[in-house]
Amino acid sequence: MGDYLLAWRNIWRNPRRSVLTILAIVFASGLLVFMLSFQFGAYEDMIDSSVRLSTGHLQIQAKGYQNRPEMHKVIKNPDRLLGKVAALDGVDAVTVRSEAFALAAGARRSRGIMVSGVRPDVERRISSLPGQIRKGRYLRDGDVNVAVIGALGAERLQIDIGDECTLIGQGRDGSVAATVVRIAGIFKTGIDEFDRTTMQIPLSDFNSIFSMEGGAHRIVITTKALADDRPVAAAVRMMGEASGLTVLTWDEMTPGLRQSIELDLIGGIIMYVILVIVVAFSILNTFFMAIFERTREFGVLMAIGTKPFRLVKIMLLESLAMTCVGLLTGMILGTAVTLLFSYYGIGMGESSELMAQYGIADRLYPRLSPLSIIIGPAIISVVTFITALIPALKIVHMRPVAALRG
């Protein structure tokens, strides 16, 4: 008990220095909580919108389809697999998509386009696309010879709602596929590439136009949480029905997204390391100064029979107390600020091309998680303990006579 009292009083013998040290810890830990929540939140948003818009968390495909999509590389019996996958733990929804490259012709112009056959009812649940219709409406179950198209694609073909569009392509069996669809809706996701090249039609139409004979190109799975992706993928791979097929996770289908996140994270980590080093130096300075100032006192204490390790313990208690006060305050402040911004969001303006590329809104919402609260403070506490240990261990080598001489 005496040592705790001594440590606590020692902190306040130079209040300004101690307060500055504590403030450095408060600032660093608070900032880390906020920044990590912000980054993790943004990454989750990025992944989520990419997953919602295009890939889903997981896909099952025929081998080789991901690298070279060709009409004949199909999943032969998608429905049996579909039912079994839907029953897996962690699976939110499953659907089937097929796609074909076709020549689309409006009244005046023609262009190549990616035609995607989808199940409108399921897409409404798992895809963000139905919500991004800017004109007209999205597909409905039972629609026949109807399509939705991206705004840039419509512009290039010079077609609008209600106009007809002729599609000519090649069926699964190599035969010529041709049909006429009426445009029911025009969507705009903000991702130019997607808005220029994508058209969706009901899967039933697609199957007959492109002679799919029951085959499908992609089984698209969304999971309840991001973290479920790998366990579900593993479970699917175990299924007998999946033999001869591949299971891909979202980051395997959009490697660019994962790289962008990693790059951004590394940039963040460099900043955090600098921040933690600054805090470490502030601690180091505080304790070297403290030891310098108290050398005679240590001499007296050792003379009357205090063992050096007891003095080291007192110094470490001092650093521990300052660190705890700083970390706790920092975590509370960081959490409060994060909560505030997770409510109001942070405007990103036009600044973030990266985010636009993955279809993210211009407001970002930091997301508080146990991980984002703990990581920063945990690192700081380890670093401050070690940096306080370095000066404190100098005491072990102190000789009482030398200390008494100051």
Binding site: G2, L5, L6, R9, N10, W12, R13, R296, E297, V300, L301, M302, A303, I304, G305, T306, K307, R399, P400, V401, L404
Partner: protein, 229 residues
């Protein structure tokens, strides 16, 4: 049987390539209950000798024995324990821990000795009263005069029931009146408790109080004078 035995002790300091013989073949025996001053001009080796007697430093040759314990045969930790149990220290200045009150400063050594709380409080109270600091138990060192601070230091040196108290220039920073009171107080302790006091000093007044004066000169014992009562 002497409580302190110094036998043919030499101490050499090294400073870079220079060596300096601070003590040269010094022998000294101190009996229990003595009140003794080590006198001599500045640089004659008083502090050096006191540090050796206190086991704070070890001689280059010869041996120092405290109450039957030969320092040369003990480790750092054992000597620290011996100091804690058998010795009290009073220095010229910077004696007290500035963040602890007078009472806490005195109590600290009893904590080190693992004395129980009730007994600690009782012993601290009575020793502080004994050194005349009834009103000042809860004052911090910076709220005390120099003389009062030295009284706290003496209280701390005494409270642990040591065999020997070593005091290095305890009066050097005090005016003569305050110094005299401190010395009187220490002599009362000496007589009442049979605690041995060894001073290092060049204060004339300390020598007047002492009952034996050992004079050092250039690291050698130049005189050893016992006063008759």
């Amino acid at each position: 049987m002497s409580i302190v035995e110094v036998e043919e002790v030499s101490k050499i300091y090294h400073q870079g390539k220079m060596t300096f013989k601070a003590l040269d073949d010094v022998s000294l025996a101190v009996d229990k209950g003595e009140f003794i001053a080590l006198a001599g001009p500045s640089g004659s080796g008083k502090t050096t000798l006191l540090n050796l007697v206190g086991g704070l430093d070890l001689p280059d040759s010869g041996k120092v024995v405290l109450d039957g314990n030969d320092y040369s045969k003990m480790g750092d930790g054992q000597r620290a324990d011996l100091r804690l149990e058998r010795l009290g220290f009073v220095f010229q200045s910077y004696n007290l821990i500035p963040v602890l009150t007078a009472a806490e400063n005195v109590e600290y050594i009893l904590r080190l000795q693992n004395v129980e709380k009730a007994e600690r409080i009782e012993r601290v109270q009575s020793i502080l009263d004994e050194v005349g600091l009834q009103e000042k138990h809860n004052s911090r060192p910076d709220e005390l005069s120099g003389g009062q601070q030295q009284r706290v230091a003496v209280a701390r040196a005494i409270v642990s029931n040591p065999a020997v108290v070593l005091a290095d220039e305890p009066t050097a920073n005090l005016d003569s009146k305050t110094g005299e009171k401190l010395l009187e107080m220490m002599r009362v302790m000496n007589e009442k408790r049979q605690v041995t006091f060894i001073f290092a000093t060049h204060d004339k007044m300390v020598m007047d109080f002492a009952r034996r004066i050992v004079s050092l000169h250039d690291g050698k014992v130049a005189g050893d004078q016992k006063k008759d009562e």
